[in-house]
Structures are given as structure tokens and as C-alpha cells.
């Protein structure tokens, strides 16, 4: 294994992972801040470093449509998008999942208009949370890179056969150069293996893909999707374990940070959790027993695990990078639901942060921790939702 770090942005890490996967087909349309993935991958194609048939489509709708066509025909097919691009492909995002095509899509999280904004939040992927895709969230460029390979294995697993979104934070991760430790091409090839799903349009007998499915069978097909999602968590655990054993890189579905003796934690996803970890280290020096919990998987939601992890604490604050107007922010809402049947419930509070790329800085996280202490001690703000850093 290489031990040499490279300076890569999250987008470059994604493109490098795609190059090493060497997919049969990539159909993609550029959108900020996903563009550097497309540009870098185009370079790989231009230089003959991949065997990929690249389809430079005329819209995201066609990107996902062509990806579905390619995957249906039996190709390892990938795409990437962000925000409004994901919104434009929305209809086909559902079709990809319900047709059970193991597509891997890079999603560079960006605020979904309007007003138009090109910076990070999770409103795009959270809107697609019920589309039937698996969603993995990455904290930094290294995680982005590693997640791609695991995502491919998860998507193509015979018990799963569902598409996967590998999410990274727009600009914050996608455009930030960080240390990334790449794997050798041969190692990647060996880990991802040969595709084990059938080419439905190259089969011995002609198949019909995507028929009209009415009242008499539609629910049976939905039940199959429902059931497939139940297999995902054990499959991910197995693949993460294999990844750790093969490459000495350990990933958990729910990552805990300094929780051993903590009585309160911050829960959140993606890049903000790096900042949270640093602030926790600072607070620890002041004797404040705070920790962090980072779900890497949002769909399927690891409800049982999250309940088990979080029920150890007296108070928890959930950081959501998107709102669900008129209801509970997504991560907060899922965690509330996970606790419904629990006997022991911590005090819980929600902060919505970082919308449209608003910098969630160290001072804000300190404020969250101070709120957390109050919550732990008094329970006063239990079940409240606030915006962090809004004027």
C-alpha cells in the first residue's frame, strides 16, 4: 500500500476513485460545485487512463436517464451532481432505485434554490432521502475517496442492489485540498472485484425492464425495496470490516469521538464534524466532558444503532445542515423517531446550521456546547429547534 499522501480536493479524490473504479459508463452534466469531478474525470478519459464510455449529456435529467439505461444494459455506471442538478434528475433518481440498479453517484452537497446559492448545505440530498437510494456522508476528502469503493461494493451486493449516493460538502470538502492517502490501482481493482449483477439487456432471453406496474403488483415491488434496505446495514458492516482489514482504514456506520466518559454529545454529519472534534478537544482541556457522534449513513437510517449509542448520554444536540420547513429537521427528526420506544431518553435539541454555505465556525460550536451544558443541567430547551448563527 502506498504511504504517500497526496494533496487532493474532495472533488479530485472523488474523480481519482472513479478513475480507479474504471466504470463502463459515466454520464454526467456539470454543475457547481460538482464541476471539478467532471473536469478531472474528463482528463482521465482524454488521456486514456480509463476505459470508460463517457456520455456528456445535455442535462442532469439525461445524466441520470443515460446512467439508468447503461446500468440496465449491464454496465457499471456512475454519475455525479449537486443541488439543482439533483432536483432536475429527481424523477429518474426514484426510477434508478426502484429498477434496482447499482449506480454510484457522487453528490456534492449544495443548497437547493432559492434564492440561488452555490454553497454547501444538505437540502439537496435530504430532499431525496425517500427516493430509495443509500446515502453515505463524508467528513473530508479521505472519506470521500474511501467511501466510493465501499459504496460500489454495497450497491452491487446481491442482497442489496440499490443505488448509492456518496455525499460530500460543496466547496468545504469538494474544493479544499487536504491530505489523501490513495490506494494502488491494483488494490482497488481487487477490492471492488468483477461486477456480479446481470446485464438485463444482454441476457440470453429478452427481458422487459420498467413495465407498467399497477395496483396488483406495485406494493410487492415496494416491499422488495423496503426489504432490500434492511439488508444494507449488515452488508455495510461487513464491507467496512473488510476494508479495515485490507487497507487498515477503519470506518463505522456511526463514528463516536471522545464519548467514553462523555455525558453529552453533538451529533452531526459531514465536514462540520471535523470542526466539532477540534472544539471538543479544546473543551476537554477545560474539563468539559463532551463528545461527538457522527452518523456516516443516513439512508437507511441506522435507528437502532443510533438509539443504542445516544441513550448513554444525558443531553444531545443535533446539527442539521438543512431544514424541513414546518417539521423536524431531517437528522433530528430521525433521531427523535429512533427514541420513541426507548426507556431512557436524553434531553435533545436541534440546531440548524450552515445553510447556503454559512461558515459554522469554532465560536458557534462553542456556543452549541454551552447550550448543551444548559440542556444537560436544566433540560429547559428540550425538544427545541433553533438556527445557529443567524442574525
Amino acid at each position: 500500500m502506498t504511504t504517500k499522501y497526496e494533496a487532493l480536493t474532495g472533488a479530485e479524490a472523488a474523480a481519482l476513485a472513479m478513475k480507479q473504479i474504471n466504470p463502463d459508463v459515466v454520464a454526467v452534466y456539470p454543475i457547481t460545485p460538482q464541476t471539478p469531478i467532471v473536469m478531472k474525470f474528463s482528463e482521465y478519459v482524454a488521456n486514456g487512463e480509463v476505459d470508460t464510455e463517457m456520455v456528456r449529456v445535455e442535462s442532469e435529467h439525461s445524466a441520470m436517464s443515460a446512467t439508468v439505461g447503461a446500468a440496465g444494459a449491464g454496465a457499471r455506471a456512475m454519475t455525479a451532481t449537486a443541488a439543482n442538478g439533483l432536483a432536475l434528475m429527481w424523477e429518474i433518481v426514484y426510477i434508478a432505485a426502484s429498477t434496482r440498479l447499482p449506480i454510484v453517484m457522487g453528490l456534492v452537497n449544495r443548497a437547493l434554490s432559492g434564492p440561488i446559492n452555490i454553497h454547501c448545505d444538505h437540502s439537496d440530498s435530504m430532499g431525496a432521502r425517500d427516493s430509495g437510494w443509500i446515502q453515505i456522508y463524508s467528513e473530508n476528502a479521505q472519506e470521500v475517496y474511501d467511501n466510493y469503493f465501499m459504496a460500489l461494493r454495497i450497491a452491487e451486493h446481491k442482497d442489496v442492489l440499490l443505488p448509492v449516493m456518496v455525499c460530500q460538502d460543496g466547496f468545504i470538502t469538494s474544493h479544499s485540498v487536504e491530505n489523501v492517502l490513495p490506494l494502488e490501482d491494483a488494490q482497488v481493482k481487487k477490492f471492488i472485484g468483477k461486477k456480479n449483477f446481470k446485464g438485463l439487456l444482454t441476457s440470453e432471453k429478452p427481458y422487459t425492464i420498467g413495465p407498467l406496474d399497477l395496483q396488483d403488483y406495485y406494493m410487492e415491488h415496494k416491499m422488495q425495496q423496503h426489504d432490500a434496505m434492511k439488508h444494507v446495514i449488515p452488508v455495510i458492516e461487513k464491507i467496512q470490516k473488510e476494508y479495515a482489514e485490507t487497507f487498515d482504514r477503519k470506518y463505522e456506520i456511526i463514528e463516536e469521538y471522545r464519548t467514553d466518559d462523555a455525558d453529552m454529545v453533538i451529533v452531526g454529519m459531514s465536514s462540520v464534524m471535523g470542526t466539532v472534534k477540534d472544539v471538543i478537544d479544546m473543551m476537554r482541556e477545560e474539563g468539559i466532558k463532551v463528545g461527538a457522534v457522527k452518523p456516516r449513513l443516513f439512508r437507511p437510517f441506522p435507528a437502532e444503532k443510533i438509539k443504542n449509542v445516544l441513550s448513554k448520554f444525558k443531553a444531545i444536540i443535533i446539527l442539521d445542515r438543512s431544514d424541513s420547513f414546518g417539521s423536524f429537521p431531517p437528522l433530528y427528526g430521525e433521531i427523535l423517531a429512533s427514541f420513541f420506544a426507548a426507556e431512557k431518553k436524553p434531553y435533545i435539541k436541534s440546531f440548524i446550521h450552515g445553510l447556503g454555505g454559512r461558515d459554522t465556525n469554532v465560536e458557534m460550536i462553542k456556543e452549541v456546547i454551552s447550550e448543551l451544558q444548559k440542556l444537560r443541567d436544566t433540560g429547559e430547551s428540550n425538544f427545541t429547534i433553533d438556527y445557529l448563527g443567524v442574525r
Binding site: 499522501y5 497526496e6 494533496a7 460545485p33 452555490i118 454553497h119 467528513e139 473530508n140 460538502d169 466547496f171 468545504i172 470538502t173 474544493h175 479544499s176 485540498v177 487536504e178 491530505n179 465536514s271 462540520v272 471535523g274 470542526t275 472534534k277 477540534d278 472544539v279 478537544d281 479544546m282 461558515d359 459554522t360 465556525n361 469554532v362
Partner: protein, 191 residues
């Protein structure tokens, strides 16, 4: 986070600040450091003032926020000098490196420093660049000056990195010229 060295570059869009920050990050990685390099993105086009950031540390860098109080400010385009609030921005005791043919004393009067205790350095990166490379690419001389001032990254590491980075794309001649520019800058920093 205490051990992270933070840098803010001031430049103009399309004129090298971003490339400079990435080069610095690259070189720092060659020197076994952990890094970040990221621009502050807006819709601006070529020529607009921009900020680019670097973090350099011996430990993995986890924080993902903008840099508001850097240890080090690099001004790659001297025409921006009067618009930067050094007093507000710079960490106490921090350092400022300016691409100019003037001395720190000469340029200090134009800078908004207030009561800030700052160490100011200048380097004629543009002049050096034109002399050795034939065009205005001030990044390489800036890196040489940065190495000289901070001693964080040995000039030898930068040379090694430049060699690795440029050899396939540009060949030995270009590398030699870049290294000459780097070395010239290393010895021409004014304080």
C-alpha cells in the same frame, strides 16, 4: 487545533493565489505535514480580489471553517494593500509577506495596521519571476520567501516537490528556472 499554522493569501481571481496555496500545500505534504488549501468562493470573475487559505500542521487537520485570524498573511498583489484590514485580521505577533519591490518600511505607511504588532516582509516576487521565468508568476518566489521566513518547510523539500510535480509536464529546463527563482527569493526577502 492549537498546532495549526494558518495562512491567508490575498490576490486577484485567476492570478495565482489559489495555485500558490495549492503549491504550498503540496510542498508541505512532501515535507510530511498535514494541510488544507481552499479558496473563499464567490461568483467573482478574473481580476476580482479573492482570499485563499492554507492550514499546515504536524497532525491531521480536521477543522473545516474559514480562517479569520491567520498567523501569516501573503499579499500576492500589492495593489490590494490599502484595502486589507490587517489590524482586524492578523493574529497578534503574526507575519505579513508582501509581493513588492519596496521595503517593509516604505510600504508600512500604506497599511492598515493600527496598533497591531506585526512582522512585515517584502519580496519582489514579480521581478524575480520575470527575471527567471520570463513572465509574472509570483507563486514560486513567494514560496521561497515563505520558506525563508517561517522555516516550516525546508527549501530542499520545495525543490523536491517542484521536481516531482513538474518533471513529466514541463521537463528539466522549466524546473531549473523555477528552482533558480525559488532560490533567488529565498535570499532576497527584506525585513
Amino acid at each position: 487545533m492549537k498546532n495549526i499554522f494558518e495562512i491567508t493569501w490575498y490576490g486577484r481571481g485567476g492570478l495565482g493565489a489559489k495555485t500558490g496555496a495549492i503549491l504550498l500545500a503540496d510542498a508541505a505534504i512532501t515535507a510530511n505535514k498535514f494541510v488544507q488549501a481552499f479558496p473563499e468562493y464567490g461568483p467573482e470573475r478574473q481580476g476580482a480580489p479573492i482570499k485563499v487559505y492554507n492550514r499546515i500542521s504536524d497532525d491531521p487537520v480536521r477543522v473545516h471553517t474559514a480562517i479569520t485570524n491567520p498567523d501569516f498573511i501573503i499579499v500576492i498583489d500589492p495593489s490590494l494593500i490599502e484595502s486589507i484590514d490587517f489590524e482586524e485580521e492578523l493574529k497578534d505577533g503574526g507575519k505579513i509577506l508582501i509581493n513588492t519591490d519596496k521595503t517593509p518600511e516604505e510600504i508600512k505607511t500604506k497599511m492598515k495596521l493600527g496598533s497591531k504588532d506585526a512582522n512585515i516582509y517584502t519580496i519582489d516576487a514579480t521581478g524575480i519571476s520575470i527575471k527567471f521565468l520570463g513572465k509574472n508568476i509570483p507563486n514560486i518566489p513567494i514560496l521561497g520567501a515563505f520558506s525563508d521566513i517561517t522555516k516550516m518547510i525546508e527549501i530542499g523539500e520545495i525543490k523536491k516537490h517542484l521536481h516531482e510535480k513538474l518533471i513529466t509536464k514541463y521537463g528539466q529546463d522549466i524546473i531549473d528556472k523555477n528552482i533558480q527563482a525559488l532560490e533567488a527569493a529565498y535570499s532576497e526577502v527584506k525585513q
